[in-house]
Point group: C2
Chain length 334, copies 2
Amino acid sequence: MTEKVLLAHGDGGSLTHQLVREVFRAAFNDPALEAEEDAALLDAPSKHVRMCTDTFVIHPLEFPGGDIGKLAVTGTVNDLAVTGAEPRYLSVGFVLEEGLELSLLKRIVQSMAETASEAGVRIVAGDTKVVEKGRCDGIYINTCGIGFQEDVERLHVTSICPGDRVIINGGVAEHAVAVLAMRAGIHSSTGLLSDCQALNKIIRGLLHRFQTIRFMRDPTRGGIATTLKEIAELAKVNITIAEEQIPIKPEVQGALEILGMEPYYMANEGKVIIIVSPEEAEEVVTFLRDAQGQRMACEIGYVTEGTGNVLLQTPYGGTRNLKRMAGTPLPRIC
Amino acid sequence: MTEKVLLAHGDGGSLTHQLVREVFRAAFNDPALEAEEDAALLDAPSKHVRMCTDTFVIHPLEFPGGDIGKLAVTGTVNDLAVTGAEPRYLSVGFVLEEGLELSLLKRIVQSMAETASEAGVRIVAGDTKVVEKGRCDGIYINTCGIGFQEDVERLHVTSICPGDRVIINGGVAEHAVAVLAMRAGIHSSTGLLSDCQALNKIIRGLLHRFQTIRFMRDPTRGGIATTLKEIAELAKVNITIAEEQIPIKPEVQGALEILGMEPYYMANEGKVIIIVSPEEAEEVVTFLRDAQGQRMACEIGYVTEGTGNVLLQTPYGGTRNLKRMAGTPLPRIC
C-alpha cells in the first residue's frame, strides 16, 4: 500500500477496497463489516431506538488527551447516553484529504477501535471519500449512533422542577483549553489534557442507582452556559449556578486567565450536567466521586421558577444573566 | 440572518441555534427535530434494524438532474433498500465552508426535504459544523440511514446460483456523465441528466411481487463493473454480461465517446442490479418497464459457475475479464 492517501482511495475501486480491508476492517473487526453488505444487519433489542449524528472537524487532529477518532466515538456515545439510551452501534463516515499520511489515519482508526471497545459499542458501517489536497483539513469524521431504550418515560426535560439540583461530574473547559494550548504550541509545558471520555457506563450506573434524575445533557460546543441555557428554556425554569462551586482544575484556570477567556462557554467532551431532586443530590455527587476519574464532581446550582434564565452568582454577591455563546466562536473545537 | 455562512454558525451558540431553527428545522419539519433532544427517540417496528452511512462530496453541488442534497438522501435510501430493508429514518451531518451563500444552502436543504418526503423517510437528527474558507468545498453532507426488515432470510449473496439472470432497471453511466459534462461546461447543450432517484418504492414492489430475487446492489462509485465484480466474488460465481444488451441512452453514449471513457466504470445513482431466477427474469423486466421512469430496464447477463470473474462479451465474439475500477478515478462524483 502507498504511504499517503490518493484520490483513487475514494473512487470505489480496488484501492478503496484495499483501504477498507487493510485499515478500517482490520481495526474495527466487526462481523457486520465483514459481511460487506450495503447496510449492516443488526438486532433491535427494544421497541424504542435513539439516533444521533455528529461530524468532527477538530484541529489539530491529535491533541493532549485524545484525537479526532476518540472524540468521534465518545461524542456520539455521550449524546446517546445522556438521553437514557444504551449506545449500541456506530457508523463512521470519513472525508480524507489527498496526501494524508496513512500512518496518521491508522493511528486515528486504531484510537476509534479502542475507544469503541472500551465503551462497549460496535462500529458496524462505514464510508470513505477522498477530496483533493486543500479541500479538507486532513480528516473529517462523521459518526452516527443508534442506541436502545426500554423506559422512555424517564429523563424528560419537562420533569425538571424548582428545587432540583444541578450537578456536573468534574472540571469544566478542559477540552477547549487543551486544544487551544496545543494550537498555541504551549501544551507540553502545561500538562493540560482534554477530558474526552465516554460517559455511558457512568450514566448507566447513575440511572440504575437513582430514581429522581430528571434530565442530563453533555455540555460540549458552547460550554456549560449554553447547555444550561438550553435546558432552562426547554424546561421553562431558571437555573442559578454559583461561580465558586464550578469545578475547574488550577492549570485550566491559569490557562484561561492567560487567554482572557471564561470557562462557561468552553467546550467539554467528557462532562455531563445532571438535574436531580434535592433528596438524591448529595448521593449522586458521592456516587460520581467514587467512579474512576470523576473526583471533582460537585453540585453547582439549583432550579427555581422562571422563564429560561441562567443566573451566575459571583463571589462578590452579584448576579450575571448568562446567554448562549455568541460572537466569540472557537472554530473547530470538536 | 446574514447572507453567508459564518464560522460562528458552527460554534454551538446563538447563530447555530438560529441556523438550525430557520433553515434545517423549517425545511425538515419533523417532530423528532422539534424535540431538541441529544438523540432522536424513534419507534423500532422490527427486531432487525439495518444501518448504513455515506458521505457526499460531489462537485459541483448542483448538477443536471439533482444536487448534493437529493443525492445524499437517495444514496442512503437506496443502500438500505437493496438489502431488503424498509428505509425509515435519516440523520444528516453538514460540513459547511465559511462564506457559503445561505441561499444555496437553503436550496439544497429544501431538495433534501422534498426527496425524503417523496421516498417516505424522515430526517430525524442532524449536526452542523463550519470550517474556515478553503477547508471544504462549499458543502459536504453525511447521511446515515436506518431501516427495518422483517424477513432477513431473503437476499443473501450466497443464494445466487448458476443460471440466474442479471437485470438492471435502466441506462448506465448517466450520473457520472451528467456531472462530467457539467464540469466541462457542456451540459446545457447535451440534455444529459443524472439518474439520481430513490429506488425504495420500486424495490418494495419487486420484493412483494417476486419470490426468487436472489440479491440486489446499487452500482454507484465504480459502476456496474465494480459492483458485478463484488457480487461475483462474494457469491463465488462468474457473471457474464453482453455489451450489446447493456442499456445506455444515445446522448450518454455520445458523451462517453467524446470523453474516451467506458460506461462500465461510471457511477450511477438511480440504478439497481437485480439477480433473479431465470423463471422470473422476464416478468421482472416487464414489471420494471411498467414502473415510472424505468422503461430501459433489461436483462444484461447471467450467472455461471466460476471463481468471481465478470466476463464482458463483445459484439465481435470476444470476451473481456472486467476488474474493479483501478487507476482512472473520477474524484468527487458522489
